[in-house]
Symmetry: C2
Subunit: 120 residues, 2 copies
DNA sequence: GAAACTAGTTTCCAATTGGTAACTAATGCA
DNA sequence: TGCATTAGTTACCAATTGGAAACTAGTTTC
């Protein structure tokens, strides 16, 4: 009983840390979760739809974040040959595996607000 | 069928966005999830324990992030009157409500790695 | 008396993030 | 002809983030 748990920084611990780092890197930045959340709710959406739907985002940011998400294969980008050309973004099947995370994050945020107000 | 879903930016949508923003603000920065994850696994831990356990973190960051977490009531800080004074950090009951989020994030990261390696 | 361990704090610096605004380029409409 | 809409891009700038290293300060051990 002198040294319980000497080797705490074990394999599973390192794997977990790496896993968390990976996920947070994929979701890095202020907007990716919002974009994914919006696309998960809205299905196929055009650039301008997203720009209008996501409050406060600038075209530059939306463009950059969508590129990141596309690179990570979480969303697809499809150019549609309409009169003024439009581009459709959609969450991939792979991207949909993010849904539990986003839901948990949204749930916690609601819980957090309720706690704040309940305590006032 | 001319304008389905005109009012997309509805109440529930705004609430969700606010909720996500709130959560991500509480978890902001590179380290908070790791600190919480480590404390959830390790129970009571001292400053130096955390510093050694969390690979790459500097004392300044650990200190600052712990203060943030304490302010948000996710962890408690207890000074223990040992020979060289020690400080114990522990996740609160409230902080434990973060566990589902952290688990989902860790799970996804593992899934992500597997997918990468499976595709090589 | 010097070194080491506790838990930090402080300073200084570099990189990243993100915002505004203007610009491109193609097409349609009045 | 000129304005609007589509989907961006570019340039510039400010704030935030985070890292390294040195420092404080009290106690204990050699």
């Amino acid at each position: 009983m002198i040294k319980r748990k000497a080797v705490k920084k074990s394999l599973e611990c390192k794997v977990r840390i790496t896993a968390i780092t990976d996920t947070m890197q994929v979701l890095s930045g202020k907007w990716k979760i919002h974009i994914l959340g919006t696309l998960l709710q809205g299905g196929k959406m055009r650039f301008m739809d997203l720009l209008r739907e996501i409050d406060g985002i600038a075209a530059k940011m939306l463009s950059k974040e969508l590129q990141d998400l596309e690179m990570n294969q979480l969303v697809t980008r499809t150019v549609v040959d309409t009169k003024p050309i439009t581009v459709e973004y959609e969450v991939t099947e792979y991207g949909k595996t993010m849904e539990p995370i986003i839901d948990e994050i949204a749930n916690w945020g609601v819980f957090y607000r309720n706690r704040l107000h309940g305590k006032d």
